[in-house]
Symmetry: C3
């Protein structure tokens, strides 16, 4: 039984919400670069802001890649984290994983799109949460294998 009294569940809820707001923040980062450089993706936006249409600006594209990387990873965390809770993990361990996951993904965005850093900064900030998702996924599959 998964209940709201379980500290692992509370931790999942908290960190999932933080990650959601973190994903939403990417739109603000993209907007900041677009307005600073007056570069837009749509004719009507360029017109409204007296800018121009350009689809290959390297600064805009860098933020967009960071955003897409979030979309490739964070919804998978939302589902895997929720499913992982159904395997009754130890609360302290689950909380530790969720916390490291969230911190790493925030660092990933910083070294990718806020203040670009040489590798392997981004690779490390990518693979730690990536492995956490695999770990949770394998735990879930081995727990529910009988439902195949």
């Amino acid at each position: 039984m998964v209940t709201l009294n379980d500290p692992a569940v509370q931790s999942y809820i908290l960190y999932s919400a933080i990650l959601a707001l973190k994903v939403l923040t990417m739109a603000l980062l993209t907007g900041r670069v677009r307005f600073a450089k007056k570069i837009f993706a749509n004719e009507e936006d360029a017109k409204a802001s007296k800018g121009r249409v350009k689809l290959d600006d390297p600064d805009v594209e860098r933020v967009r890649r960071a955003h897409l990387n979030d979309l490739e990873n964070i919804p998978a965390f939302w589902i895997l984290g929720a499913l992982y809770l159904t395997t009754a993990p130890a609360a302290a361990w689950a909380t530790f994983l969720f916390r490291v996951y969230t911190a790493s993904r925030i660092i990933h965005t910083i070294v990718y799109a806020v203040k670009p850093m040489p590798q392997p900064s981004r690779a490390i900030a990518y693979f730690i949460p990536y492995l956490i998702k695999w770990y949770m996924g394998i735990k879930v599959i081995s727990h529910f294998y009988g439902a195949m």
Copy 2:
């Protein structure tokens, strides 16, 4: 406790399903433009439909941007809406938020990709649901802050 008898939960389920079908509809919109212009992203598709490969058609790209914008926003709604239900919001208020969210996102697609309109149409249809997500996220975080 979150239960299926709660009208807020029923409302969340209904509007989340509507939004999911709305996201799926984007693929039909893209297909419609691709087949009308005989422009495809893959060699094998162009061959099968006697069209050609072209990756920068402005009409196709506009629909694809609207689709990507959904992916940036709607999965975040699904998780934030579900987590928001665990904070026991008043049912009428939660239902109001879900309803406005869904209507705004549908309007966003219409003014972006079905019948492009001058700004600020799309900006308004974007920021209303964007702020609803932030509101729900902040409510969740302030409710579960102790689980940090």
Copy 3:
């Protein structure tokens, strides 16, 4: 009431986790092509791996399109599948749908990005799971229509 004892719920959990790991595998497929061709999206990556920056390599772009297609479809499955469980479907039928969905999406990736095949291979592997999502969505909406 949705409970973990329900075989449909267990099946949903299992197949959702398999799909999540399948989405994560796309990053490995992209990485494999990038490293084989020494082609990267970021200056710092090219530097670290003695490669070069190129944003329009057809082999990399094909895998990226398959990845994006997953993002357009699989999160929608996660939510629709979960919501569908709240309509109390027959367990054997729900399990059948989840199983066919998962198998089709894996085949979709294979014929798109691992070993590209002529159409209609990919179209079939796309539309079967696409229709399953519509079916589940319509079931959910007709069940909770009163919450509009």
